[in-house]
Structure formats: C-alpha cells, structure tokens
Amino acid sequence: MSFAARRTGLATRLGVLLGLGVFLVWSLAPVVWLVLSSFLTQRALIAQPPDLAPASFTLQNFVAVMQSAASLGHGMLNSFIVASFSTALALALGAPAAYALARLSLPRANVISFMILATQMLPGIAIAIPLFIVITRLGLIDNVWTLGLVYLSFNLPIVIWILRGFFLGIPQGLERAAAVDGAGPVRTFRYIILPISIPPLAAAAVFAFIEAWNEFFFALILTRKSAETVPLVVAQFAGQYQTVFGQMMAAALISVAPVILLAIIFKDQIVRGFADGMMKG
C-alpha cells in the first residue's frame, strides 16, 4: 500500500472520488453531447427532453454535411496542407536552432531563447496588420503556403522551446565522444543527436500540427475562398445552418476528430513536452 493511501482516511478518499467524478462530468459532458448530437435526428434534438431512443440515431447529419457543404472536405484538405507545411518547416528550422541555442556555446544564447519564448505568447493581432498589408501588396492573400509561413510565427518559437529543453539535458560526453571520433558539429547533430531526439521531435510536431490545424484568426484575415481552412468552414456553417443542430455538430466533430485522435495518442508526449517545458527555463 502506498504512503499516500495509508495516510488518507475513508472520508478523504470519498471526497477525492467525488471530486474526480465531478471533474469527469464537467469535462466530458459537453464533448459527449457534441458526439451524441451529431448522430441524432433534428426531431430528437428539439424534443424536450431530447429523445435518445435507438430509433433517433442516424448518420444522415454526416452525409448531409459532406454533401451540402462541399467546402468541408476542401477545408480539411487545406488545413492538412497548411498544418503539415508549417510543422515540417518549424521542425526543419527549429531543430538545428534549438540545438545551437542549447549546446553550441553561442554568445547570449539564453537571452535569444527567452526572447523567442516571449514572442510565442504574442496575440496574433500584434503582427496581423502589417502582415496583412504586405501580403496583400504581394498578391499572396488566400494562399495555403502563405498561411503556413505565417503560422511559423507561433509554431517556430514553440518548437524551438520544446526541443531546447530536451537538448539541454543531453549528457556532454555524447558530443565529446563524437568529437574524439572526428565528427564535426554538423555530423554530430545529424548522426548522434537527431536519432536520440525522435520522441521530443514527435511531441513538438504533434503540438505544432494541432495549433496550426485549430488556428482561426490568421486564417480569417489572410484567406478567402480557395485557401480557407476547416475552422473557417465550420464557423461559416454554424452561421448559415444554426438551426440544423445535428449537422452543425457533425461539422464540428469532423473538424476536430483528427487532432483529438492525435492528442489522445500523444498525450504523454504533449504533457511532458509542453506542460513541463513551460514550467522550467
């Protein structure tokens, strides 16, 4: 029996159980309702109370959403391109930069790192107006690649920060041994450091992908019809079809399903990589 269990009395344990129960209901009830609603007919949803009989369940909402808003598929594709492009670039640029800031005795490496961390927190509006002016002038508005590049403004800093935390913890002996064997910094990074960094690279990638997939503000101001991403499509859909509740929920569910799956699969990496990373310098 663990130390904590031995110490706590029955009353405390009941209290904890109750607390956990409340927490579960509070966190999951809205999500469960999202899933249930998307499978229920309009008649069942507007009944008071909602009619949860087996006959009320249907796949019609999903079929209707994919047909009526053909833009949902289009939006998913755009989101996938933007998020993948932005994530790949953030890793390609961020991994070497994080390694250099953590290990390669750059002057002022800490100051640079903290500046990068600070910029990650900026609200989009702080950079949106000049970016909008420049991108409009260059005729690059409504372009998935432009949007992917702009997403580097939050993805690159966060990737650098997550990876830097990991690189700081690598024992020096590893690099020294590589140097004794005649490997320069580039080869050391490529053949020694990167192969042992797969888990943090995956965590950073998942994190960046989710952030880019969910982003709304820049997508709203920098895209029109052809590059619109899935949050935009869902927001518009919920405006136009706001009384067709089941379809509204089906659209929302389809749009979040990919990243929720990712988050569940990589939950431990996300927790370690980001939550812990934000707590230490």
Binding site: F3, L28, I46, A100, A128, L152, P157, V230, A252, A263
Partner: protein, 302 residues
C-alpha cells in the same frame, strides 16, 4: 588545450549557422510586423483603390483611444474578463491537479480527459456551446430546468452582463485542462520527503496543504497566473462565433475590437493603436513570466 579551443570555436561557428535561418524567419514574420505595427499606430492609414496611404499623425490614434467610449468599455471588459478567468481557471485548475496527483487520480485515463478539451479547436468549441446555450432547444436550459434551478428558459447570450459571463464560463471550461497540467507538473516536483516529514510531525491534510504544498508550488502558481492572463487577452474565436461582440458591445474585448476596427472598419492606424495596447500588456506579462522562470534555474545550478 588548443584542440579544445578549436573544438569550441568550430561549435560556435556551426551554432551561428544553425540558428541563423530560424532567426531570419522570425525577424521577417515577427520582428518586422511588431515594429511596423508600432509605426502604423502613429499614422492615419487609408485604403484607396487597393493602395495603402499612410500619413503621420503622431499620438492622435492613442488620444482617440482614451476618449473612445467603446474602447474604454472594451478595456474595462477585458480587465474584468481576464481577472475573473485567471482566478477561476487557476483556482479550479489547482483543485483538479490536486485530485489527479492523488493516488486514485493517477490513471492515464484522466490525462486523456484533460487533453480532449485542450485539443478541441476554439472554433469547434464555440460552435458546440452555441448549441448547448441555444435559448429554445439548448441542453443547458433543459438540464437546469429539470434540476429546478431555473423556472423558464434563459437567453444566455441575450443580455449584456449575462453574455459576457457566459463567454467567460465557456472559456474557463476550455482553459482549465492545460492549467491543471501545468499545476500537476509543479506538484510532481514537490519532494516526497517533505510530505513524509509533515506526516511524522502529525500534520493533517489541510495543514500539509498550507505549509508544504502551497509554498512548494508557489512559483508554479505564479507561472500559471501569468500564462493564463496572456491567454485570456487573446480570446477571439469564441467572441467571433458566439456574439460578434454583442449584445450592445458587451462582449467586445480589446483583441476583438482591434480586429473589428482594422478589418471591418478598415481604420488600420487606429486598429494598430488598439493592437499595441494588447501587445504592451502581453509583453509586460511575458517579461514577468521569464523573470519567474529564472530563480528556479539558479536553484538548480547551485
């Protein structure tokens, strides 16, 4: 010794090459827009036939900001929203973290429960709550009525004060998981030996919490407070989907106002001035955050 110096020098020059591309990109998409944003706020900007015309007006936009009733109201709303959100999210987040740090709450299942609301796109979350809060058929009215807590259906987003508080509630729901994870990370760093010592001294759960747990995680709490404040200053998607700032501008927060002035009213200079206000607040908070991170590193080094 010479060999080591060469080693260090080679590492440093490789380091410069490694970090340069990332810094160049950040200069282009972050540093330049930030500086130009400050510059724009000092100008009157008009769009004529797709061309941007910029005229220097000095502090006029800021002068206007502090005499504009909508903006002042937005500042007040933002302050209220942020303070209330931080208190609620950090308070509840700490409670959740304590529960999950308990032997019964350690299962990986609970971490799944935490990452789901976090991973849901803010837009999808807003759309979900639009349905939950629906005045005629929404499940919130249904549940509260059957529990006998309200007598007739409420129009949750219909009146100014109610709308702002309901938005607050929705954002609190979405924000708790991550702050709970932050707190959990802090709790797990408290040395077990402290709890054992408190137990030996006959301290009860409450005393242990006040004298051991709270002092040990006060930095974690401070970090959560600062980060949550920063995050609540950037709430946008929720307002855009649920209220568009209404009713009667009651849910116009500064971030949303900057967007509306810039992209709906096309008043780019004034929009930049409002954006600068959000930027300044965030920047100060970010510096406080970094300052909070530092003492821990000194302790670790010594």
């Amino acid at each position: 010794m010479r060999a080591f110096q060469t080693y260090e020098r080679r590492r440093r020059s490789a380091g410069a090459a490694f970090v340069a591309p990332a810094l160049a990109v950040l200069a282009l998409i972050l540093a330049y827009p930030i500086l130009d944003s400050i510059w724009l706020a000092l100008q009157r900007v008009t769009l004529k036939a797709g061309q941007v015309e910029r005229t220097w007006v000095g502090a006029e936009n800021f002068h206007r900001l502090f005499n504009d009733e909508t903006a002042l109201r937005a500042i007040f709303n933002t302050a209220y929203f942020s303070i209330a959100e931080v208190v609620l999210v950090v308070g509840i987040g700490l409670g959740v973290a304590l529960l999950l740090n308990n032997a019964m709450g350690r299962s990986g299942f609970f971490r799944v429960v935490l990452v789901i609301p976090w991973a849901i796109a803010p837009v999808a979350n807003a759309v979900l709550w639009k349905w939950i809060l629906n005045a005629n058929y929404g499940v919130l009215n249904g549940v509260l009525t059957s529990l006998g807590l309200i007598e007739h259906n409420q129009v949750w987003l219909g009146t100014p004060t109610m709308a702002l508080n309901v938005l607050l509630l929705v954002d609190v729901w979405k924000s708790i998981p991550f702050v709970a994870l932050l707190m959990l990370a802090g709790l797990q760093q408290v040395p077990k030996v402290l709890y054992r010592a408190a137990y030996m001294d006959g301290a009860g759960s409450f005393q242990t919490f006040v004298h051991i747990t709270l002092p040990s995680i006060k930095t974690a709490i401070a970090i959560a407070v600062v980060l949550q404040t920063i995050w609540s200053l950037r709430v946008f998607d929720l307002i855009f989907v649920l209220t568009r700032g209404g009713p009667a501008d009651a849910t116009v927060l500064l971030n949303f106002l900057a967007y509306r002035v810039t992209f709906n009213f096309l008043d780019l200079g004034y929009g930049a001035a409002i954006a600068n206000l959000v930027f300044a607040a965030t920047f100060i908070l970010a510096i406080i955050y970094i300052w909070l991170l530092k003492p821990r590193r000194r302790v670790a080094a010594s």
